[in-house]
């Protein structure tokens, strides 16, 4: 259950921060949510990864379909050297997923570190 909460909260916070902050705010969203809800580190990474994979994948796929993939055809050839809009959507989602996953992992480990310090104190 906590995993699902983490998943949704990272996606929602990531989208909201993205309206005002640069693209890497999805990593910040992962960090904040994981530090707050404190899932196990491997769960944190997975939650960040999956939620932004879905968020970025969904946002780009939606845009690209509405665009008849015109832009994605051109940019996939330029950035990936092959004409594959869906591959570009996949690469986009993967980049976001990695950053958010690592952000969430860091958040979880941060909380872990703080808690330890608290206990010792």
């Amino acid at each position: 259950m906590k995993f699902l909460y983490t998943l949704f909260l990272i996606a929602i916070l990531g989208y909201a921060l993205g309206l005002y902050l640069p693209w890497w705010s999805i990593g910040v969203a992962g960090f904040i949510v994981a530090a707050w809800l404190f899932p196990r580190p491997q769960d944190a990474f997975l939650a960040g990864f999956i939620s932004v994979l879905a968020l970025w994948g969904g946002l780009t796929l939606g845009r690209s379909i509405a665009n008849d993939h015109i832009l994605a055809h051109r940019f996939s050839q330029m950035l990936l050297q092959r004409d594959s809009p869906l591959l570009l959507v996949g690469v986009t989602a993967l980049i976001g997923a990695l950053v958010a996953g690592l952000g969430a992992l860091s958040g979880s480990l941060f909380r872990n570190m703080i808690r330890k310090t608290e206990t010792v104190a």
Partner: protein
């Protein structure tokens, strides 16, 4: 331990973010670029997007409605004329912001700010040519005229109104790729755009190349290879026209032989970044006597470097004062080529040389004074600051003399000036307000209005064609053209005394012109405007063959319809090949050819002389002729360390037609005496060897061989933004002047009926965004030689179902 885990994790996270956010590690900042909320996906415009809008700008004085039709052509209806220019600036920015800013950066020599140190040489050349100086001079005149100033101010305000509302996530993709932001627009940028256009059309000269050729070849050979005029010239103004005796004729200085013609100059300056000499155009107008309707038809197709986004943006502007439709330049206000309710106007390049170099002798290395008219005269030094992206600012001092800026001197790296300095005298530096011409053309009703309007245009020299609904057709070759003594300015001139300066300008009324000529048509195609009976010396870079075939076709035209004219603009007949074929076939020795070459020879002799996309013979001809030029001229042009430039194509053909024992045929490098037979045969054999592998790959058809391509302005760095492999016919010397990446950038046919009936197309699309369906949607229509019927909207059409979206601008 937990601290260590966290530290590793946070370092990995920030490291990944850094890699994906910078341009220094990956070729592109993939995170920033691909973020769906910030990057390029934001530019993936929905194909069903609603382009309607209600916008408010306090700067507006009245209401403006913009009706967008299904091709995204805006029809602007403004209550106040200057509001129309505000909205034009807004729309140009909305659809073409990156392009218009980039082109004005290029004009000003500021490309290094965007792309880094690879553009430094280009930028230095632009600065040294005095492009900004020229724009500043123009701006002074533009702003001295209240109407022009008001239209420019409104246009600039419109561009800035758009830029101000633009979020970072909405920036055109080129800004995201290159990592910069648009700056504020201003009137100087408008002037810079006009100077970029001037450089494209009147920036070509061969002064250094000719100076070198004269010394390397000697005068007799030079005259044969670089003649003043072609035998087969079919001039703009028909042969046999009587020209009045000029009131003044310039006199050559007394020491012209020693100081000019036989001047010794061991330095070899080979300028780069020269404009394409094939920047040209076709235009013609038929009088009512030659059309089916009895009303004139005016046609124009300007040939420029093809690009995406296209140089042109199509629109209609309707104000209480005028109603004009046509193509506009994103970067300046007004309609540049098009028509209003009463007249149509178009342009071709005159090709006239308005650019000369003078050798300057500085007193010392400080370059603060130079020798002129027997005294040391102070030069004005202008310090140019070239900012380089991710780098330092480079300073370059440019000295200004009485002639103009010193373009080449010892501080220009990579160019051998032998320590000498050369100043540029160029009409483009002189102040003028060419925008005033369009201001008046928009509202012109008849020939007299047109004549008044074009008087404001000083450069680049254009053949300005005109037709009116009341039946007049006219053409003036218009600009400020220097008054030259014979051969003045062909070569680099002395700069030490005023006697080598231009002695004035050709009086405007003596410029070549034709008004309702007897033959019932007018045309121009970048050929020399007048035959040898024209009393002035008018050097330039001229085409020969398009003019011949256009005049031949028009002379045979009766009962013309707009459809006939569209066909004519797409005519692929190769008149150059018609003249050249007998020379080749009469002299080729087929027994000395191998079977493949003989096969190509037969293919060529069976050819219908059409450069159609599927014609293999057209490719054979092109390769054979290029090979023949190489065989005949290579030895003669390479007797010195530095090659002499190639003569124009007509030179060899006319030389051979005149004399089969043409003096350049013999190969100086062999003891044998080559003749025309052996040269023509060897040329085909060589061409055949080069063509055979191409044929085997299936690429010999002319359309495939030529591979017509429209590149993005950033060329190969964004190749997927280009349209390549277009199967277009035509080519050099052909009415359909479509080459590899150069050709008809707008094809327009205007029938002067009531109301006006017009057709046009350009190779591009209205939206500069590579993520838009309107980025390249006209390209296929253009490739097929088809046209769109233009919708010359009237206020009564406001409820028409041709309107797809409406933008309302209010104060």
């Amino acid at each position: 331990m937990r601290i260590l885990y966290f530290s590793i994790s946070i370092i990995l996270t920030t490291g990944l973010i850094f890699i994906l956010d910078t341009r220094k590690i990956l070729p592109a900042p993939l995170g920033r670029l691909l973020s769906p909320q910030e990057g390029i996906w934001q530019n993936a415009e929905s194909v069903d997007a609603d382009h309607g809008a209600d916008l408010r700008f306090p700067a507006l004085k009245g209401k403006v409605e913009v009706y967008l039709d299904s091709r995204m052509v805006p029809h602007v209806f403004a209550e106040k004329e200057n509001d129309a220019y505000f909205v034009q600036g807004y729309l140009h920015a909305r659809f073409r912001l990156w392009q218009m800013e980039f082109q004005t950066y290029a004009a000003a020599g500021r490309v290094s700010e965007i792309v880094g140190d690879k553009a430094i040489d280009f930028d230095r050349t632009q600065r040294r040519m005095g492009m900004v100086y020229a724009a500043e001079n123009a701006l002074r005149m533009m702003e001295a005229d209240p109407a022009t100033k008001a239209s420019c101010d409104a246009y600039t305000a419109g561009v800035n109104a758009y830029i101000e509302t633009l979020e970072a996530s909405e920036l055109p993709v080129e800004y995201k790729l290159l990592g910069y932001k648009p700056e504020k627009w201003n009137n100087l940028k408008i002037a810079l755009f006009t100077k970029a256009m001037t450089n494209d059309l009147a920036g070509f000269d061969r002064d250094f190349e000719f100076t070198h050729a004269l010394q390397a070849l000697g005068e007799e050979n030079f005259r044969m290879l670089f003649p003043e005029m072609a035998d087969s010239l079919s001039p703009v103004i028909p042969n046999g026209t009587a020209y009045p005796k000029p009131a003044i004729l310039p006199q050559a200085p007394a020491d012209v032989d020693s100081a000019y013609f036989h001047r010794k100059d061991s330095s070899i300056v080979m300028p780069d970044f020269k404009p394409d000499p094939s920047n040209g155009s076709n235009n013609w107008a038929l009088a009512g006597s030659r059309t089916k309707s009895g009303r004139p038809i005016l046609c124009n197709d300007p040939h420029l470097r093809l690009s995406l986004p296209a140089i042109w943006f199509e629109m209609q502007i309707h104000t209480p004062e005028f109603n004009a439709y046509g193509v506009t330049f994103p970067g300046i206000p007004g309609v540049v080529i098009g028509f209003n309710t009463d007249i149509a106007f178009g342009f071709t390049n005159s090709g006239r040389d308005v650019k000369d170099y003078h050798e300057i002798r500085f007193r010392d290395n400080t370059r603060r004074s130079y020798w002129f008219d027997s005294a040391w005269r102070p030069s004005k030094n202008r310090i140019e600051q070239i900012r380089v992206k991710d780098g330092k600012t480079i300073q370059d001092t440019v000295s200004y003399t009485v002639f103009g800026p010193v373009v080449y001197d010892r501080s220009m790296p990579g160019r051998s000036t032998g320590g000498r300095a050369y100043a540029l005298r160029w009409v483009a530096h002189d102040s003028s307000n060419i925008l005033k011409m369009w201001h008046l053309l928009h509202r012109a009703k008849n020939y007299d209005d047109y004549l008044e309007a074009i008087g404001f245009f000083n450069v680049p020299g254009q053949n300005m064609i005109f037709a009116s609904r009341n039946g007049d057709i006219a053409l003036w070759q218009q600009a400020t053209f220097p008054l030259r003594w014979k051969d003045q300015g062909l070569f680099v001139m002395p700069g030490s005394d005023s006697s080598y300066m231009w002695q004035g300008y050709i009086p405007r009324e003596d410029n070549p012109h034709a008004i309702n000529p007897e033959r019932g048509f007018i045309s121009s195609a970048n050929q020399r405007s007048a035959d040898s009976s024209y009393p002035y010396f008018i050097p330039g870079s001229y085409d020969v063959y398009r003019g011949i075939i256009i005049n031949r076709r028009l002379a045979a035209t009766i009962d013309a319809t707009p459809e006939d004219m569209m066909k004519l603009q797409n005519d692929n007949y190769n008149v150059f090949a018609e003249y050249a074929r007998p020379v080749l076939l009469k002299n080729v020795d087929s027994s000395a050819l191998d079977p493949t070459a003989r096969y190509y020879m037969r293919m060529f002799s069976d050819w219908n002389l059409q450069n159609d996309p599927d014609s293999k013979a057209a490719t054979v001809f092109s390769a054979w002729w290029d090979s023949l030029q190489q065989v005949v001229f290579h030895d003669d042009l390479n007797t010195t360390a530095k090659s002499v430039i190639r003569p124009d194509k007509f030179v060899l053909l006319e030389g051979l037609l005149r004399d089969s024992a043409y003096r350049f045929i013999d190969d100086l490098r062999t003891p044998a005496k080559e003749d025309l037979k052996s040269a023509v045969t060897l040329a085909l054999q060589k061409a055949s060897s080069a063509l055979e592998p191409i044929d085997k790959e299936g690429r010999l058809a002319w359309g495939k061989y030529k591979n017509t391509s429209i590149y993005h302005l950033l060329r190969n760095s964004v190749l997927p933004f280009a349209r390549t492999g277009l199967m277009n016919g035509g080519g050099e010397h052909i009415i359909n002047a479509t080459k590899h990446d150069h050709g008809p950038s707008w094809r327009m046919v205007v029938h002067m009926t009531t109301p006006i009936e017009a057709y046009a197309v350009y190779p591009g699309g209205q939206d500069g965004n590579p993520g838009s369906a309107n980025y390249d949607n006209f390209v296929d229509t253009w490739t097929k030689g088809e046209y769109y019927r233009l919708w010359f909207m009237t206020p009564a059409d406001r409820t028409s179902n041709k309107i797809k979206w409406t933008m309302r601008f209010r104060s």
